[in-house]
């Protein structure tokens, strides 16, 4: 089953409880299997006790004759443990019925031990299996939910978010939740079951010794809990120190050319040595603190065992307790004390899961983009790319207006150019057209339809966009190209790469069109990325093509080839070009000069250079160069005699 969730599904599905639907039965079964396994493993000390108090005590041998007489036993208790707690141990009862002598009874005890271990082992296996299936199944849904939710988040929210932090939430926070579900839930359940089941048994065996046997456990749990809560701060400092070291390393490796060019190897080495040593010192401190905890909790744990041994021995000597019961007590103590010792730590760690889940919820609770797919889409005709913008206004949350009073008209097949300094609102306008942002004032009409009434996906299907720093997926060149058109012919594919002047470059890659892009394959130059992204957009053949400063890293010769190829689309396809260089916008039907979110000049190139204003100023800067170029051309032409 594809776990994809429709974006309109309710958010209550995304709580841990909601995600656990379908896994709850497994969890319960896992708990049941664990309970059964624990109950079975409780039989082991009882068998040992029966062996010691039964066959091993029954033989009348002088040195070993037990001073503790059977009459010291309390009256047999009715119910669950009756068989195990009889005066004559059950081993003797069963042994006698089977006609076994004392030695045979001991072998019977051995066989029982093995059978109990085997049966409880089976239960523990089932527990492990069920718990793994349940927790992994749940986490898989959580991962998918987070991923799909991210895909449907509104762009403005994402722009404000810190990518690193977001990835961190998707990975380490999910991992913390996973650990909680896969191990901590089970561990807590185990410790609770153990203590819950052991307590009545040992109180039944001997009340006074049972009190002694449980005396230090609360101290153990509390101290472990407090310790691990306290150590979190230290751990965080260590983590941060590690982060600083990793940053120095990462920056050094990324900027290795800068380091070499400036001959700063020694400086870098010192910088790294400081970060490296700082991390080491934090790490040592952390391990040592752990060491202090483990050794002191060892004292507590072993004291608890020793207490049972010595107090128990005293009671045996007093005749208040059988030796077998003492042995059973020691085994029970060992059975519960290790999980209980871990419990404090597990509880402290489980606190992390709550924090992580809260961090995930913060992401999951962000409202998804609405209005993705409208019902009426089918009724709409394919768009031709006529654009009418009237008095458009938009501002980022808490900021000044990013766009204000923008109005223009564009017929299908025309070319619009947007120029202006960084931050003028060019890219924001593009985002509004794609409905990545929602405009607040004014209107945008696409083929006469008000944009905000068209479903988002419907709008986006009609656009092809190339960004200044285009994003390519880490997969093959071909896979990146056919994003827009899954079943495209080879011919069409190459046509678009030729138009984007990248066909030859792709063929020169080691694997041609099948070459992997990114860490696992070739590293592309900025220009190559831009050209592949352009080919991808061209392949989609959208009614409206948007180039958001998309040729900035392409050399001039190539750029002119590309612009020529794009010119062939004129008249049929609408094109919007955002650019810094005037050379890219000369042929536009309409050029808008934006400054601080407003149109300061609009018109055709020929008109704009005649008017006083920023366009002309830019033109003059570039034009001063052009004048020289013109002179050079003249000069170059003269010696040859013909131009």
């Amino acid at each position: 089953m594809n776990a994809h969730r429709s974006p309109h599904e309710g958010h209550d599905q995304q709580t841990l409880w909601g995600l656990s639907a379908g896994q709850r039965a497994r969890y319960l079964a896992a708990l049941a299997a664990m309970a059964a396994g624990i109950a079975l493993s409780f039989g082991v000390p009882l068998v040992t006790r029966a062996a010691i108090d039964g066959p091993l005590a029954s033989l009348p041998r002088a040195p070993l004759a037990p001073p503790y007489a059977t009459e010291l036993w309390p009256a047999p208790a009715p119910g669950l443990l009756e068989l195990a707690l009889e005066r004559r141990t059950f081993l003797q009862e069963v042994g006698a019925r089977l006609g076994l002598d004392a030695g045979g009874q001991l072998w019977l005890a051995g066989a029982l031990l093995l059978a109990l271990a085997g049966a409880s082992g089976l239960c523990f296996y089932l527990r492990g299996r069920l718990a793994a299936l349940a927790s992994e199944g749940l986490v898989r849904r959580l991962r998918q939910a987070v991923h799909d939710h991210l895909n449907h988040l509104p762009t403005p929210w994402l722009d404000a978010a810190d990518t690193g932090d977001l990835v961190q939430r998707c990975t380490s926070d999910v991992e913390t939740v996973r650990t909680f579900l896969a191990t901590q839930v089970i561990e807590i359940g185990r410790a609770a079951l153990l203590v819950g089941l052991v307590t009545p048994v040992i109180f039944h065996l001997d009340f006074e010794l049972a009190c002694v046997a449980l005396a230090l456990l609360p101290v153990l749990v509390t101290s472990a809990f407090l310790f691990f809560r306290h150590i979190k701060a230290l751990f965080q400092r260590m983590d941060e120190a590690e982060g600083r070291m990793t940053t120095v390393l990462q920056e050094n490796l990324t900027a290795i050319r800068v380091v070499r060019a400036f001959g700063r190897q020694e400086h870098e080495r010192e910088k790294f040595a400081a970060a490296n040593a700082e991390f080491r010192d934090h790490h040592v401190r952390f391990i040592r603190l752990l060491g202090r905890f483990w050794s002191s909790s060892d004292v507590l744990t072993m004291s608890q065992l020793g207490l049972v041994l010595v107090v128990g021995a005293w009671r045996v000597r007093e005749g208040a307790l059988s030796l077998g019961t003492l042995a059973a007590f020691l085994e029970y103590e060992a059975l519960i004390i290790w999980p209980v010792r871990q419990l404090g730590r597990v509880l402290a760690e489980a606190g992390k899961a709550v924090v992580s889940m809260r961090r995930l919820r913060e992401v999951l609770d962000v409202a998804e983009e609405s209005d993705l797919e409208g019902a009426a889409t089918a009724a709409l005709p394919a768009l031709r790319g006529a654009l009418e913008v009237r008095d458009l206004g938009f501002g980022f949350a808490g900021g000044a207006a990013a766009l204000d009073g923008i109005s223009f008209r564009l017929d299908p097949g025309q070319t619009l150019a947007l120029i202006g300094p960084p931050g003028a609102g060019k890219t924001t306008l593009v985002q509004l057209l794609l409905r990545l942002y929602d405009y607040e004032r004014g209107s945008i009409r696409l083929d006469g339809h008000e944009l905000r009434e068209l479903p988002r996906r419907f709008v986006r299907r009609h656009f092809g966009v190339v960004l200044q720093e285009p994003f390519l997926y880490s997969r093959s060149v071909r896979a990146n190209l056919v994003l827009g058109m899954p079943d495209v012919t080879e011919e069409t594919l190459c046509e678009s790469t030729r138009a984007a002047a990248v066909h030859e470059a792709i063929l020169e890659f080691p694997g041609g069109y099948e070459t992997e892009i990114g860490e696992r394959g070739v590293t592309l130059s900025g220009g190559q990325r831009q050209r592949i992204a352009l080919a991808r957009a061209l392949l989609k053949d959208p009614p409206i093509l948007v180039l958001d400063d998309a040729l900035s890293a392409v050399d001039t010769e190539t750029e002119s080839r590309i612009l020529e190829a794009l010119a062939a689309r004129r008249g049929t396809r609408t094109t919007i070009i955002v650019a810094h260089r005037l050379s890219s916008v000369l042929h536009a039907d309409l050029t808008l000069v934006l400054e601080r979110g407003r149109i300061v000049q609009a018109g055709h190139h020929a008109d704009l250079i005649r008017a006083e204003g920023p366009y002309r100023r830019l033109w003059e800067i570039q034009g001063a160069l052009e004048a020289e170029i013109e002179r050079d051309l003249q000069t170059a032409a003269e010696p040859g005699g013909r131009a």
């Binding site: 040195p63 089976l122 920056e251």
Partner: protein, 620 residues
């Protein structure tokens, strides 16, 4: 090398034996911590002996209780027990304290050695290894190896001692029961060995799958705009679904192996206990051994199994880590292809520590760069790809050389050779008639200033980043450099001015701002040779104008090499080289090349036609 291949290598290593040679090489990293290693071993020994001793006390108590003729006071046992517990916890504290020093010290040292070597390794090394790969070697691999080295000592000493002392005690007390327990151990050892390997192999697969998931999340977030623009949210969800499904598969498999292994071990332990009970019980009944001995052996049947499991895990981990150990050692021990030759090193050593006379470089040759000459220079990558051939070029001091031509023609390679990031595979490069391989690498690079296509900054403040060009520069010098390249306006507009944190890799600044800072950095260094690689793209025209005005001042009197896409920005160069297919196809001044009507002319006119056509409408 891709992650899947590495995964295969790591898993395959499990089938190979433990490579002692390799571990000996790694072991040498513990040398500075030998005292702590010895302490670690001593405390491990103490832990093991008290672990063995504690069941002995129980035996004594049981014997005391079952044999009326021995009735020592119970406080004696309590005391004995207490002493053992304190020894145990003291030893635990001791080995953790001693081990922590070894554990963190070794990883620190390996990392430092690796880092130092990375600073020296040639670019050919980096070409074949992405940053992510190197990061993994330097972080998680190093941690893992030092974990094994430090705590492996503990496991071996503790495990060995427990096994030895328990065996000795068992044979001394009752050899028949001893053989009973030892009879089960080979089975346990085998089971542990097989399972520990499998568990490790499958957890390696989990890690691998996890890194794919992380990459998918990263890509999902970085590429969200593209995903939305191409309306492929559903495909992306399906693709992720496959990854998440695979992750579930491998995680469950990993968990299942543990789920089988642990109960199996417990059952085997019970088998030993059952045999002890049967055989030993009979011997108690026969009056050969006291009951306490039986209780002791029951405890030992459990205690003896722990080290076997631990050692099986340790060996599996060592095997599994071997592939990454080789990768880490490979990184630490790799020899740089470009480095000072023996003769240069000798000269450097001869001049080290003595004040240099004016005009003498640390390598003993004149401290100046005059004429630079390329003689028949060619370059072929290790992979066999020939990117330059037969390059002849002489550059006079103070000259500005512009490199133009299509992408991939070899422009960047020429600059890399000039900076001696690589050395020519054919021909030679001479500085004032001396092959630059006979000069000190550090000296050459101290004389370079470089501005890269993608500006790279470091975490820290703006001022610190500019100061990277000259570490002892005063604030006034830093500000002057920023002013010169036209960066001061934007710097002062930042919230803390020059003290603004630029974020990791300069992430809080725009590309254009980063470029200005990287420019100020280069300018502050006041290099003899300035190298620029397409440094002015993606800055708007006005900013670009500002930079150029600054740069022109900087370039004067300085030899410089410039790659730029916009011909108009380099047409003032003293010499223009048109590079195509690894060779200089044309060389000369702008006027000369225009007159020649060759490659440059056509490059130039193409640009001019685009810009010039409309221009003529203005002047007409």
């Amino acid at each position: 090398m891709n992650p899947e291949e590495e995964l295969q290598q790591d898993v395959a290593a499990l089938r190979r034996g433990v490579d002692l040679q390799l571990w000996r090489r790694l072991w040498s990293f513990t040398k500075p911590y030998r005292r702590n290693v010895r302490l670690l071993a001593v405390f491990a020994l103490g832990t093991a002996l008290s672990d063995t001793g504690l069941p002995w006390v129980t035996k004594l108590v049981v014997d005391d209780l079952t044999q009326p003729d021995v009735a020592r006071p119970l406080w004696l046992y309590a005391l004995l027990y207490g002493v053992l517990v304190l020894t145990l916890s003291g030893s635990v504290l001791g080995f953790i304290t001693a081990g922590s020093r070894v554990r963190t010290g070794v990883v620190h040292d390996i990392r430092q050695a690796g880092f130092a070597n990375l600073q020296a390794l040639s670019f050919s090394y980096f070409d074949r290894r992405p940053v992510g790969w190197l990061m993994a070697r330097m972080t998680s691999d190093c941690e893992r190896l030092s974990n094994i080295l430090a705590w492996g000592v503990l496991d071996m000493v503790w495990g060995g001692t427990v096994m030895t002392s328990v065996t000795v005690v068992m044979f001394v007390v009752d050899w028949r029961l001893a053989l009973t327990i030892l009879g089960v151990t080979p089975v346990l050892a085998l089971v542990s060995r097989v399972f520990q390997r499998r568990i490790l192999a499958s957890s390696r697969r989990v890690r691998e799958q996890n890194s794919k998931l992380t990459a998918a999340y990263n890509e999902g977030i970085m590429g969200l705009r593209t995903t939305k623009a191409f309306v492929r949210e559903d495909e992306s969800a399906t693709e992720f679904g496959a990854l998440a499904g695979a992750m579930r598969e491998v995680s469950v498999r990993n968990a299942l192996q543990s789920a089988v292994y642990l109960p199996l071990v417990l059952t085997l332990g019970s088998l030993a206990a059952a045999l002890v009970l049967g055989v030993g019980g009979g011997r108690v009944l026969a009056g050969v051994i006291p009951l306490g001995t039986l209780v002791l052996f029951l405890s030992f049947s459990r205690l003896f199994f722990e080290p076997i499991q631990e050692l099986a895990r340790l060996f599996a981990e060592m095997q599994m880590a071997q592939a990454s150990a080789e990768r880490v050692l490979g990184l630490v021990e790799a020899v740089p292809e470009v480095q000072d030759g023996p003769e240069v090193r000798a000269r450097l050593a001869a001049h080290a520590g003595r004040p240099l006379p004016d005009g003498v470089a640390p390598d003993g040759l004149p401290d100046r760069i005059g004429e630079m000459r390329f003689e028949g220079v060619g370059f072929t990558y290790a992979g066999g790809q020939r990117v330059l051939h037969g390059l002849d070029l002489t550059v006079q001091p103070g000259e500005t050389v512009a490199l133009v031509g299509a992408t991939g023609g070899g422009k960047s390679t020429i600059l890399s050779l000039l900076c001696r990031f690589y050395e020519p595979t054919e021909g030679r490069i001479l500085f004032d008639g001396v092959d630059y391989r006979e000069r000190s690498l550090a000296w050459l690079q101290q004389n370079l200033g470089i501005v890269l296509q993608t500006p790279q900054l470091f975490s820290g403040t703006v001022a610190e980043n500019i100061r990277y060009g000259k570490l002892d520069a005063t604030d006034a010098e830093v500000h002057a450099a920023a002013r010169l390249v036209g960066a001061e306006d934007f710097v002062l507009a930042l919230e803390d001015g020059y003290d603004t944190q630029v974020g990791e890799g300069g992430g809080r600044l725009s590309t254009g701002q980063k470029q200005l800072v990287s420019f100020a950095r280069a300018v502050l260094k006041a290099p003899r040779i300035l190298v620029m690689d397409e440094a002015t793209s993606s800055i708007d025209t006005e900013t670009e104008q500002r930079i150029q005005a600054g740069v022109e001042r900087v370039l004067s009197g300085r030899t410089s090499f410039v790659i730029a896409h916009r011909l108009s920005t380099i047409r003032r160069a003293d010499r223009i080289l048109v590079i195509d297919h690894g060779a200089i196809v044309e060389s000369g001044t702008h006027a000369e090349l225009m007159a020649r009507r060759g490659a440059y002319h056509s490059l130039y006119t193409q640009q001019s036609l685009r810009e010039g056509a409309s221009y003529s409408t203005v002047i007409s």
